[in-house]
Each structure stands twice: as C-alpha cells, then as structure tokens.
C-alpha cells in the first residue's frame, strides 16, 4: 500500500486511534471519537486536495 491515499488513510487511522485512546476511557466512546477523527482527517484531506486542484489548475 504505497499509494498516497492508502498511506494517508493508514496515517489517519493510527493518529485517530492514539488520540481517541488518550482522550476517552470507555471503549465505545473511544471508537466513536476515533471514527470521527478518522473521517475528519480523510475528509479534510479530500477537501484540501480538491481546493488545491480547483485553485491551482
């Protein structure tokens, strides 16, 4: 998995899991926060990528 998207998703997953484990104590709350962080990181990268594509093409 050496595509930019694949590596970026792997990175986002790792960061999300560590932050959620640090910030929450219950497993369900950790999973919920990790999912939200992962979605925000990947979604943010998509939005930033499209903005750069539209602005700098």
């Amino acid at each position: 998995m050496t595509s930019h998207l694949g590596v970026m998703m792997l990175f986002a997953a790792a960061v999300s899991i560590v932050f959620a484990t640090l910030q929450r104590d219950e497993v369900r709350a950790q999973l919920r926060l990790a999912g939200r962080l992962f979605a925000a990181l990947v979604g943010g990268a998509y939005v930033a990528g499209w903005l750069m594509h539209l602005i700098f093409r």
Partner: protein
C-alpha cells in the same frame, strides 16, 4: 491552592513519602517503551493500544524508506525532526543499532516514511505526558 495539594504537602511535612508512582520514572518509562507506563499505572488495555500503534507507525516509517535523522544544528528543521524521532526511545535505539533507517531519498515513499517516524515520536511524547498526569493524580489521591 487545592485541597489535594495541601494533603500532599501535609504528607511531605509529616515525613511520609507519597504513595503514588515516581513521576520522572513514569515519563522515562513511557518514553523508552510506548505504553509501558500505562501498563505500570494499571491501564493495560491502553498500554497495548499505544504499544501496537506507535511501534507499528515506527516500523511502517522504516518500511516506507524513512530516514532516522542525526542531530544537525546547521539544519534547524532536520534538528527538530530528529528530536521528534527520538520520542520513541527503545525502537529508535534498536533500529539505529540494527543499521535500519538509512533512508532512500530517491524512493517515492521517503517523505511518507519520515512523516510516520516523526509523528510516531511526537505521539509518544503526548502519551508520556498523559502518563505523567495519571501518576501525578495518583500521588495526590
């Protein structure tokens, strides 16, 4: 001043050692082995998560041809990146002793690898701070 710190001071004045774990020891342990301090503080599940994810990030960084940077004061960004990579104590030492992390600048994944190595170290610094807070709370309790 909070009531808990007064209690801690009273304990010290009375010549009694705090029952909580040594805060410096906790930080050093957390720095050396990701998750070890949380295991020591009675949070084994969090310890396993930190160990698996942070060591996984470090190994992924090496597998993606990332470079273990030396301390170069002449290059401030590389110097800061080296400090961040040292956030993972034992994995960084073992990898350096094994000759891993030479880095392949021409590889397409070189910068990805460096990002994993740097972010893994920085995240372990956060984990160490969290463990320090836990130890401090135990001492005050």
């Amino acid at each position: 001043m909070s009531a808990s710190s007064t209690t801690s001071r009273e304990r010290r004045d009375a010549g009694l050692a705090d029952a909580g774990p040594n805060r410096i020891g906790v930080i050093v342990l957390a720095w050396l082995v990701p998750g070890a301090a949380h295991a020591w503080l009675g949070q084994p599940r969090k310890a396993v998560v930190f160990f698996v994810v942070l060591c996984g990030m470090f190994v992924t960084g090496l597998a993606l041809s990332g470079r273990l940077l030396p301390f170069q004061v002449a290059d401030p960004l590389a110097f800061l990146a080296a400090i961040a990579q040292w956030g993972l104590g034992v994995p960084r030492i073992v990898a350096a002793m094994a000759g891993a992390g030479q880095g392949v600048v021409t590889a397409a994944t070189y910068e990805y690898g460096n990002t994993f190595l740097i972010a893994g170290g920085l995240l372990n610094m956060l984990v160490a701070l969290n463990a320090s807070d836990l130890a401090s709370a135990r001492s005050r309790a």
